[in-house]
Amino acid sequence: MRSHPREMGRTVTDTPSATDLATQELTINMGPQHPSTHGVLRLILTVDGELITKAIPDIGFLHRGIEKICETWTFRQIPVMADRADYLSAFTTEFGLMIAAEELWEIEVPERAEYARVILAELNRLASHFMFYASFGLDVGFTTPTMFGWRTRESIQDLFEEVTGARLLHNYLAVGGLRLDLPPDFKDAVAGLLPEIEKSIDQCNGLITDSEIFQARTKGVNRLSVEEAARLGLTGPMLRATGIARDLRRLLSYSIYDRFDFDIPVGENGDLFDRYKVRMLEMEQSVRIVRQALKGMPDEGPFQGKVPRILRLPEGDAYSRTESPRGDLCIYLVGSGATKAYRVKIRSPAFVAASALEALLPGAYLADAVLIIGSTDVVMGEVDR
């Protein structure tokens, strides 16, 4: 992008306040009860007028000790807590936990269950990205995207409810497959939902992606280079927006992701618009994956592999890396021969994104801060765990 000649060689943003006038800095406390902090993130911002000079993210308001609880409960009880970590895409965390567990036990997962897992995880990615769209629209200043995003997310959650009995926190995946069999009309229900999702993505794009004011607000704002993103430890859409096609589904091909044909959308500048756009494009790819999975999924077959009746975690450890809607979600599982896990560690992408705010926010306007927080797509449940 071409910058204005007057600004060449200037390092500070184009507000005069930073250099021309000595003004008093104001420390404002943003959150945990601020509508745009996506839950209970607290930011201690130092602002010079509208310009942020310093930002300190303060987390922990939603800390429930999930990792510790996982050590005190038997393994069969753990998925309940895994759901509650990233409550916007519960299947992803369950998926990661099960992959780690199956690596530890060396259990084969039946074909049908693998496909079901992928379909559910991708649908959950869609639901999560719709939620991102909804909240990002609200951050940028109007309520219509909220309704648009939520509507389709509701449809997806209705499907989840049909399958698992719960809308948000499913507790549906189990070691070696699924906890219960899929409902008989599962394939038809998913296939029926896909056109609605596609139509909705189109509508969502039409509403704000092409809007000039939206582009004026997001294009070129808070640009991030590949190096910066890598040094901040950002993953997922935040990293892909900078132009790197790094997706664990492709990189590691965990589960059965090597069987599907999908693209990895990338951005160019890593600015707010790219971060938004990458997620919108990812949604289309998720639909593609679900469609292929529906085609490949066997109609008959077991939904669970051979699992011992009493689950004692063997001695040793396992590490799973999965692509959550927010980036690399890694789960480290250590067993010591007991029914309880010795240690469960969740490497949460949202936690890294929240900590990156300290570097991302300074230099931005207060109005953009809201968008930057929104663009990291943090889920505080996963950050605080």
Binding site: L26, I28, T146, E212, I213, A216, V221, G363, A367
Partner: protein, 364 residues
């Protein structure tokens, strides 16, 4: 002035005082219903037939709520502010001619009066923002003051052209001049567009609702207010929307003039049309940033309105004939300038500051 005149004047003002809450009630209902439809939901539905009583129910709820004063507030400033916002807004209402007879105060300088008085409202907002003792309120107020004072200029300059055309600042004369020639929106489309945009900024409506942006400063100056004091701000906001619509009707859309229907109905129709447009914007446009808003005002709208004034001056000197060529030309020119200025000045990408990054951890 006889006693009767005084009584009539008092009655007129009283009617307006009743009219103001009514306008707000109707508008909130219309806004919520329209917003709901655009967002593919029902809008108010449960209270009364088709949710019609939702707005009165909300009003009653607000009146019964406790009106809190924060401990850190500058008590009197905080308490007086809503009146200073509400009062001038009602006062503006007196200057608007609904029809030729239906005007509370028919002033010779009506145009000046209705456009100058809203500036007083800003003082009320400053008091609210300062008095609240809240940093978000302070930031919101700073935004509002900057925005409102800047947008006064294009607002006034865009209307100057109309004053030149009608040769008067009297609103009734302006309407009558339009009735005898054409609506000024036809000969002054640029001014009309500028007027609506600047008016939206003045009243802090989407896409210029920067000062009260819920997602950023959580209501700005209004953040600490509750109960009836908040209701007064709320009333003022909707009356302001009505005033903007009514003024654009009177100044550009021929006021009450129109065939067949009674004048008051024409006025209501045109105002309703503009109000619907304003409400519609809220459902479809994101919010600008403060620096973009200021750039839009000083670098785009103000030069445009001055250009428009030049065009009108030509008409004032040489008569209507050159206008036939000039108006389309000026519109094309204005549009071209607007598009260029938008991409060059408003959408200008900002270089980001160098970041303090954590040093990569070394394995140890």
């Amino acid at each position: 002035m006889t006693l009767l005149d005084v009584v009539i004047a008092i009655v007129k003002v009283l009617v307006l005082l009743i009219l103001a809450p009514l306008i707000a009630l109707v508008f909130t209902y219309a806004e919520r219903k329209l917003l709901g439809r655009i967002q593919q939901r029902m809008g108010p539905w449960h209270v009364g037939p088709m949710g019609l009583f939702q707005a009165p129910a909300d009003a009653i709820k607000l009146l019964m709520k406790e009106s809190l004063t924060p401990e850190k507030a500058e008590r009197w400033i905080y308490l007086i502010a809503p009146f200073l916002v509400f009062g001038p807004t009602i006062a503006v209402l007196t200057g608007i001619p609904f029809t030729r007879e239906l005007v509370a105060a028919n002033l010779d300088l009506g145009l000046l009066y209705v456009l100058a008085l809203p500036a007083v409202v800003i003082i009320g907002f400053v008091m609210a923002g300062w008095g609240s003792g809240n940093k978000y309120a302070l930031i919101g107020t700073a935004r509002m003051v900057a925005q409102a004072i800047s947008y006064e200029l294009p607002l006034l300059v865009s209307v100057l052209g109309v004053a030149l055309l009608a040769n008067s600042l009297d609103l009734t004369v302006i309407v009558e001049a339009q009735a005898s020639t054409v609506w000024y929106v036809v000969v002054q489309p640029t001014a009309f567009a500028i007027f609506i945009m600047a008016g939206l900024a003045e009243t802090s409506r989407t896409p210029f609702d920067i000062a009260i942006a819920e997602s950023e400063v959580m209501g700005g100056p209004l953040i600490e207010y509750s109960g009836i004091r908040w209701a007064m701000f709320f009333l003022a906001e909707y009356v302001n929307v009505f005033i903007l619509a009514a003024l654009s009707t009177v100044i550009f859309l021929g006021g009450w003039a129109g065939p067949f229907l009674p004048p008051i109905l024409w006025f209501a129709l045109k105002t309703g049309f503009v109000v619907t447009f304003i409400l519609w914007l809220r459902a479809t446009l994101p919010r600008l940033r403060i620096d973009q808003l200021m750039a839009l005002c000083w670098k785009v709208l103000l030069p445009l309105s001055l250009l428009n004034l030049v065009v009108v001056s030509v008409q004032a000197v040489y008569g209507w004939l050159p206008m036939i060529a000039l108006v389309p030309l000026s519109v094309v020119l204005a549009f071209w300038f607007y598009r260029r200025a938008w991409t060059r000045l408003v959408m200008r990408p900002r270089p980001s500051a160098p970041r303090d990054l954590p040093t990569p951890a070394t394995a140890g």
